[in-house]
């Protein structure tokens, strides 16, 4: 066993550290060392998105990131989506729209959808499908997932604080 590396990062908003071998992926460390089993392994080749996490705000496949690469970085997993017991609007929308059946792909979709809406608060159906094409679902045929994401986007837009700018202002 090769000498372990010490990694310090911000994980779901908290300063966290762990030891790992260089060959361990972020997904392995999350699941096997940190007991954050919400991110799932579906393929280990970056083709299914079930392991999606945010790395410095960008959605990535944790199975294709070595844990050592996350030193001094910020990682958000499904476990960090809700605010305590307050669900994220995406999580609520998935429940209300029955956008999950077996639920195995759901964490990956929620993280990827959050990244999408953080960047594009008013996506079209086409844009939602395009941005989430890296997340495979075999149960739903994607219909209710897409509806839930669009609904959450609308909810989040309605709730967004109005920002007064210095010039025209709104």
């Amino acid at each position: 066993m090769s000498k372990k590396t010490h990694v310090s990062l911000t994980l779901n908003g908290e300063a966290t550290e762990f030891l790992c071998e260089p060959r361990q992926t972020l997904l392995e460390v999350l699941r096997d060392e940190l007991d954050l089993t919400g991110s799932k392994e579906g393929c280990a080749t970056g083709d299914c998105g079930a392991c999606s996490v945010l790395l410095d705000g960008h959605v990535v496949c944790a199975c294709l990131v070595l844990a050592v690469e996350t030193d001094a970085r910020s990682v958000t997993t499904i476990e960090g989506l809700a605010d305590g017991d307050k669900l994220h609007p995406l999580q609520t929308a998935f429940l209300e729209h029955a956008a999950l059946q077996c639920g195995i792909c759901t964490p990956g979709f929620l993280v990827a959808a959050k990244a999408l809406l953080d960047r594009n608060p008013d996506p079209s159906e086409y844009e939602v499908r395009y941005e989430l094409a890296g997340n495979l679902c075999r149960c739903t045929g994607y219909d209710k997932i897409v509806r839930a994401v669009l609904a959450a986007a609308a909810t989040m837009r309605d709730a967004a604080p109005r920002v007064r700018t210095g010039t025209t202002g709104t």
Binding site: M1, R23, R31, D32, L36, T37, G38, S39, K40, E41, G42, C43, A44, T45, D47, C48, A50, T77, I78, E79, L81, A82, L87, Q91, F94, L95, E96, H97, A98, L100, Q101, C102, G103, I104, C105, T106, P107, L110, S124, E125, Y126, V128, R129, Y130, L132, A133, G134, N135, L136, C137, R138, C139, T140, G141, Y142, D143, K144, I145, V146, R147
Partner: protein, 795 residues
């Protein structure tokens, strides 16, 4: 009074609950396990972790067909961190016999040989040994140190090649069942099934129009996103506990006991949450390995498959070759049908050819027919159930031919199906008559759906889900067409158990043994809530292990909401009977004076105000003790078969052969939709799988029998951008055998799409595709052969 089988309402009034007004059934509550699943807290099999747990890996055959001459594990055993190794030699001998299981049959000897090869390996990926070690990486290194000596044999990979007299033989002792006269010849054909009635030659002679086609469908996989897993712990006294993502904890217990020669009582199976199954997780692969390794190592062992292992070594469904000839008279009556189906069973017998043969023409009233089906072994993984197993292959053939008949007769395709549509009393191809079914209602709903009247739109223009390619003269390069098909599935009954305990606050704890793949925890809770007159939030459903609930058959066969729901219904009746007796005790009146209505026990005569469950709950202990209702059912007689239809619009790029799905509607008779959102979900999911089956999914082998596309990159399942919204129409023709009229909904939606897609492509291009998948190179070659080209202008 205890033990007397009195009922407040019968299980079946014969109306399927048509007279009832439901308060909860038909609504869309948030599922009880929903928050756990959207927060990542839900524990699936691979999430289970135990103290001291080891990690297992499986060594798999690199050869498609070979004799195992010897296995040397000594170098692997010496690797630091390796704690246990097992091979086929560690397994007890098992008798070869055929038993019913789920919607098919199993042979425990074959199951054992599939779990770990004994004398021969029969497909690349066939398990040969398993290792438990301190980390998954060490286990993997250990695999490389196991030496296996093989005598490589020629493989046979194709069903027609396997049926030839000179084909390599997989099982020396296999003889074809169902042959008359019986044959003692070595063969790869495990069995023949035949249905026939009437004089075929005479009937075809009467036909004005005859269509005869041959179809080929490729082997496809269920494609669940969660790979197989199992965690086992064996105590010093030999008691084994297995945590596993499975559709059938009792099946797992039974199969493991059988092939490991353990008493049933020594195995407890705890169903973890399950990440999809579609039939593929109704059998065993890793569970016995986990038990054997845990026993040897004296520590818990976890095994999880990689995606490549899932595709290479777990049951896909059969590829098939189908020849179908149908004849009709000019008035649109189908008068004769002659079908031959050959299905790949994979390495061991047991393809779903018999179900394919039963379903092929089940939507139609055909007096004269002959259907023959062959179950053929080939050097591919052993097939397992996949959502209405066998029916999609068959319907692809039947719905294509029916469509061609319609075109030749000049009759609308839906109308032709209506004219020949099966109804109550129509004999099925296998003989028994249809019970009350909803095919005609499904056809009516299809014709009334908004999709049916919607224009196809201009080729090349954008839709909500499809960005179109307005440039490049798209209108001349693309063609649009609409296709339609129907499908049938008989739906299983099987056995289920349920208990309902009333808590002191009047809430109910519901325990069943049916793993929840798609929201059935909640549909069962809704049934309990409906019967008990409480809110669905006040029912706490749980899925219990094999020690904690009565025998319950698989979550599969479209049976959970129907059959487990029936057990829940009956358990609720038991609860109500008991509550009435308790109220009678409290009120000091005769039990016959008490009835149950609207969540309350009611005294005849109105002398006492009715008592709610909450009020009664507090008083249970002084009226006789806790109230626990229970029921077990064998739901065979309660089943209701289901029909579905798919309407699909496609756009074909004439220059590349690419097919895009523009619009899709799925129509299905659910009998009664308990939770419509989850019924819609089943319909949409099956439709998506059927579309993948039609367009791009297939197993690709090299001549040596290596699976070339053992990953999600090249095993091409639909991604979000490949599908539009899938509109759903739920038809409700109540199943008279069930108190709520429920028909199974989980499977039939996968049956019509391949035929519907092929029909849409035919409508768009005039080209009839008879091979699945209709991948772009195949379609382009067919377009060329038919002389269909983009017009030169505006190119």
């Amino acid at each position: 009074m205890e033990g007397k089988d009195e009922k407040i309402s019968t299980a079946s009034t014969g109306t399927g609950g048509a007279e009832r007004t439901f308060k909860i059934v038909g609504t869309r509550p948030i599922r009880h396990d929903g928050i756990d699943k959207v927060t990542g807290r839900a524990r699936y099999g691979a999430d289970v972790s135990l103290p001291g747990m080891l990690h297992g890996k499986v060594l798999r055959s690199p050869h498609a067909h070979a004799r195992i001459l010897g296995i040397d594990v000594s170098r692997a055993a010496a690797l630091p961190g390796v704690k246990a190794i097992v091979t086929g030699a560690d397994m007890p001998p098992v008798k070869s016999k055929t038993e019913q299981s789920g919607e098919g049959t199993t042979n425990p000897r074959h199951l054992s040989d599939n779990v770990l090869a004994k004398e021969k390996v029969l497909y690349t990926g066939h398990a040969v040994a398993a290792v438990a070690a301190a980390s998954p990486h060490v286990a993997e290194e250990a695999l490389a140190l196991i030496e296996v000596r093989y005598e490589v044999l020629p493989p046979v990979l194709d069903v027609r090649a396997a049926m030839r007299p000179d084909a390599p033989i997989l099982h020396a002792g296999l003889r074809t069942q169902g042959l008359e006269p019986a044959s003692d010849a070595q063969t790869n054909t495990a069995s023949v099934v035949r249905f026939e009635r009437g004089d075929l030659a005479a009937a075809f002679a009467k036909a004005d129009v005859v269509v005869e086609r041959e179809f080929d469908t490729a082997m496809v996989h269920q494609g669940y996103i969660e790979p197989h897993n199992a965690v086992a712990q064996v105590n010093a006294d030999g008691q084994a506990t297995v945590w596993v993502s499975t559709q059938g904890p009792f099946e797992v217990r039974h199969f493991c006991a059988e092939i490991l020669a353990m008493p049933l009582s020594q195995i407890r199976v705890v169903p973890a949450e399950i990440g999809g199954g579609f039939g593929g997780k109704t059998t065993i692969y890793l569970e016995p390995l986990a038990i054997m390794l845990a026993r040897k190592a004296g520590r818990p062992v976890k095994l999880v498959m990689s995606r490549a292992e899932v595709l290479r070594a777990t049951g896909p469904t059969s590829g098939s070759h189908i020849r179908l000839k149908m004849g009709a008279t000019n008035d649109g009556k189908i008068v004769a049908a002659d079908a031959t189906l050959a299905y790949e069973a994979g390495a061991f017998p047991g393809s779903p050819v018999w179900a394919g043969a039963m379903c092929l023409l089940a939507p139609y009233d055909i007096e004269t027919l002959r259907i023959e089906g062959f179950d053929v072994v080939v050097n591919r993984p052993k097939t397992a159930a996949y959502r209405a197993p066998g029916a999609s292959n068959a319907a692809f053939a039947a719905e294509s031919v029916v469509d061609e008949l319609a075109a030749k007769l000049g009759i609308d395709p839906i109308e032709l199906r209506r004219r020949n549509g099966a109804r109550e009393g129509t004999p099925t191809p296998a003989g028994p008559r249809h019970k009350r079914i909803g095919l005609l209602e499904v056809l009516d709903a299809a014709q009334a759906a908004p999709h049916a009247a919607a224009p196809l739109g201009v080729p090349g223009s954008a839709t909500a889900a499809h960005d179109g390619s307005g440039a490049n003269g798209a209108a001349s390069v693309k063609r649009r067409g609409r296709g339609f098909a129907v499908g049938f599935w008989f739906n299983a009954g099987l056995q289920s158990s349920a208990t309902i305990a009333i808590n002191p606050d009047g809430t109910a704890s519901l325990v069943t043994g049916s793993p929840d793949i798609g929201g059935t925890r909640t549909s069962c809770a809704m049934i309990a809530a409906e019967e008990l007159g409480i809110s669905v939030d006040h029912v706490r459903p749980s899925v219990a292990d094999t020690d904690s609930v009565g025998h319950t058959d698989v979550t599969g066969g479209s049976r959970v909401t129907m059959a487990t729901g029936l057990a829940v219904y009956e358990a609720a009746q038991d609860v109500k009977r008991q509550l009435c007796r308790r109220a009678a005790t409290l009120w000091k009146i005769a039990p016959e004076q008490v009835s149950f209505a609207d969540g309350h026990t009611v005294a005849a005569g109105g002398e006492h105000p009715p008592l709610s469950l909450a009020a009664l709950g507090a008083k249970l202990s002084r009226t006789g003790g806790p109230v626990v209702g229970r029921a077990t059912v064998n739901a065979q007689r309660a089943t209701g078969a289901a029909f579905a239809a798919t309407m699909v619009d496609v756009e074909v790029d004439l220059e590349t052969g690419k097919v895009d799905i523009l619009r899709c509607t799925t129509i299905q008779d659910a009998g009664r939709a308990i939770h419509p959102a989850y019924v819609e979900g089943q319909m949409q999911g099956g439709t998506a799988q059927g579309i993948g089956w039609a367009l791009n999914e297939e197993y690709v082998y090299d001549p040596e029998g290596n699976l070339l596309n053992a990953g999600f990159l090249d095993y091409r399942m639909p991604v979000a951008l490949d599908l539009p919204m899938i509109d759903t129409v739920i038809v409700e023709v109540p199943n008279p055998g069930h108190p709520y009229g429920v028909r199974g909904v989980g499977e039939v939606s996968i049956v019509p799409p391949p035929g519907a897609v092929a029909n849409a492509i035919a409508a768009a291009t005039g080209v009839r595709m008879t091979e699945l998948p209709i991948s772009p190179p195949r379609l382009l070659a067919a377009l060329h052969a038919a002389g269909v080209h983009a017009t030169a202008a505006a190119r």
